[in-house]
């Protein structure tokens, strides 16, 4: 039992980061129909930038703020200079553009901060709590607490504010949204900024537990994408549930079956789910119109 709890704790913690990445994917997908393969790089940027700013002597809160703000700016630049000029391109073309962007971000960080593995101290000590024979790191509580806050804030933003509703309207029908006076250009930029900030936040929170380096973005991003597809492309609730589910199943499989195959688990899961539920768990039924 204590073992089970232990795996559950670590699964939920990592799963929360996948959920944040998945929410980022979903935001961009809803606003622009683009799957942003550079999403994982924002997670990496979050962790690496906090590490850099702490080294440079900045206090923790300021370092975190910058490590979230800078990726948000990168997200805006990405939209403005690469996605916008290629608006009407094929799915494959857009995927390649975002992959190109992720290579550029990863390459620049590798040149700037090197290939080493980095970390920084947890926000409030590393003395673990004992719950039912399992240990829970204080940092895990930070991850879960802040993720929960973010989810509630996003829910509020999208269902109670005009700006949020404008974004939802754009994702439903961009032309109609434009006709009622929504600045869809602005919606795209906000979506990319928000999505990058969410990814970076995940990286900032998770790094004290899992460490970071210039190349962690690929796997984290791909697993975030798995979480999106598990939950159903385009669904916010699906993204969160998908993220947690992927994290928990991965941790259980690593604990009970084989830790060597830990990274394969999300991808086996996704194949199984796509075979039986081609639109994910929460995906909408779509009938194609000709």
């Amino acid at each position: 039992m204590s073992q089970f709890l232990q795996f559950l704790f670590s699964g939920i913690t990592v799963g929360a980061t996948y959920a944040l990445a998945a929410l980022g994917f979903t935001l961009i997908y809803n606003a622009s129909n683009v799957i942003n393969f550079a999403q994982g790089e924002f997670i990496m940027l979050g962790g690496m930038l906090v590490f850099y700013f702490l080294q440079a002597g900045l206090p923790m809160p300021l370092a975190i703020l910058l490590a979230i703000a800078i990726p948000a700016v990168v997200g805006v630049l990405l939209e403005k200079f690469t996605i916008e000029p290629a608006r009407d391109a094929d799915v494959v073309t857009l995927i390649i553009i975002t992959i190109g962007a992720s290579l550029v971000i990863r390459g620049l960080i590798q040149i700037w901060l090197g290939k080493g593995t980095h970390s920084y101290p947890a926000f409030s000590g590393s003395e673990p709590f004992l719950i039912g024979g399992a240990t829970l790191l204080p940092q895990s509580l930070w991850v879960l607490g802040i993720t929960a806050l973010v989810v509630v804030a996003l829910w509020y933003f999208f269902s109670r504010t005009l700006a949020g509703k404008a974004i939802l309207a754009t994702s439903c029908n961009p032309l109609a949204a434009q006709l009622v006076g929504i600045n869809t250009q602005w919606v795209l930029l906000v979506s990319f900024a928000l999505s990058a900030a969410l990814g970076a936040l995940g990286g900032v929170l998770l790094t004290p537990i899992t460490l970071t380096s210039y190349d962690v973005g690929i796997m984290l991003g791909l697993k975030g994408f798995v979480a999106v597809v598990v939950g159903g492309l385009g669904s916010g609730l699906g993204a969160v549930v998908g993220g947690l589910l992927v994290g928990i199943i991965e941790a259980m499989a690593a604990g009970y079956i084989s830790s060597a195959y830990k990274d394969a688990v999300p991808f086996i899961l996704i194949l199984v789910i796509l075979f039986f539920l081609p639109r994910g768990i929460f995906g909408a039924k779509i009938t194609e119109r000709v």
């Binding site: 997908y29 799957i35 690469t82 000029p85 290629a86 391109a89 094929d90 799915v91 494959v92 073309t93 857009l94 995927i95 390649i96 553009i97 992959i99 190109g100 962007a101 992720s102 290579l103 550029v104 990863r106 390459g107 620049l108 590798q110 040149i111 690929i218 791909l222 994408f225 798995v226 597809v229 492309l233 060597a260 195959y261 990274d263 394969a264 999300p266 991808f267 086996i268 996704i270 194949l271 796509l274 075979f275 081609p278 639109r279 194609e288 000709v290």
Partner: protein, 314 residues
């Protein structure tokens, strides 16, 4: 005369391949030419799937990995003849493709990308983990490829082998496109619903082309393994899949010449970029983005439209 005109592209390619050794100064350049040919053959197959049938695969390196490791493992651990091992690998890759194809091809767009990506990553992880047979992340040696007492040795011999394979693939791909099968593929890229209404069994065609491209990818994986004489899990990883898709898209989707150009350019690019010392990834990524933003249809179709007037039909 008519026959000559019909086969003009094939003859041009043959002439280029024949004359190329005259200007290749040393083995280093032979090596690059060989890698270009290997990639070109894989990309021809992948372009049939992505460009003509409109089905993306982000896991094709997995099939290459199956072929490469079949050629490494079966002769080394089980004493199989390398040619038999190569066929077994290709059969294995086709079988994997066939098993997953039906469920996968009910999916579309991003879901299809996800499923093929997952498949590729799983294959790569299996190769990395089963160290008893595969040597794990360090890789393993591959015995020479030969028949009777003769074995292929050195860059020059390999060059002619691959020149022959490339010519054959080029001819086969062109014929396939002009066959009823090719027309069905193009129809389904145009509109799946319309081709279904016209009586094209779309799933059967998608599955067939997926299996075919997996078969070729695996064969070329075997060839790569024998040529280099050593194989590591990198051959099956996600980045390799992306490189191949990039060659298809940069050269031009649904363009046979595009496949050749894409493979040649992107194989040469890392060599050209090695002078940038550390900036390779950044420059490579930037080139990808620029190509796709300014030539979303790929080099060959874009240039053909601009300069050719009448344009390139395939």
């Amino acid at each position: 005369m008519n026959l000559l005109r019909r086969h003009k592209p094939l003859l041009v390619l043959a002439a280029v391949l024949l004359l190329l050794p005259l200007v290749l100064p040393n083995n280093f350049y032979y090596d690059i030419a060989i890698r270009m040919a290997i990639n070109a053959i894989i990309v021809l197959g992948l372009n049939l799937l992505i460009g003509f049938a409109g089905q993306i695969s982000l896991g094709h390196a997995g099939f290459i990995g199956i072929g490469a490791y079949a050629s490494a493992i079966l002769p080394t651990h089980f004493g199989w003849h390398p040619l038999l091992a190569m066929l077994a690998g290709a059969a294995g890759a086709s079988a994997v493709a066939a098993i997953v194809a039906r469920p996968i091809f009910r999916l579309k767009g991003h879901y299809l990308a996800m499923a093929t990506l997952g498949l590729g990553i799983i294959i790569a992880i299996v190769i990395k983990n089963e160290a008893t047979y595969t040597g794990g992340p360090d890789g393993m040696a591959v015995p020479a490829l030969g028949l009777m007492n003769f074995s292929i040795n050195g860059e020059k011999q390999w060059y002619w082998v691959l020149a022959g394979l490339l010519l054959f693939s080029f001819w086969a791909a062109r014929n396939l496109i002009d066959s009823p099968f090719g027309r069905a593929l193009r129809a389904l890229h145009g509109s799946e619903v319309a081709s279904q209404v016209m009586g094209v069994d779309i799933v059967r065609y998608k599955v067939a082309i997926f299996i075919l491209s997996a078969f070729f990818a695996s064969l070329m994986g075997s060839v790569t393994a024998h040529y280099i004489g050593f194989v590591t899990p990198n051959i099956a990883d996600f980045f390799h899949s992306i490189e191949l898709v990039t060659m298809v898209v940069v050269g031009g989707m649904a363009s046979i010449y595009g496949s050749l150009i894409g493979a040649v350019l992107l194989t040469a690019l890392p060599q050209a970029l090695s002078t940038f010392e550390g900036w390779e990834t950044v420059v490579f990524g930037s080139i990808l983005m620029f190509c796709m933003i300014f030539m979303p249809r790929g080099l060959v179709p874009t240039l053909a439209e601009r300069f050719g007037g009448r344009g390139e039909d395939n």
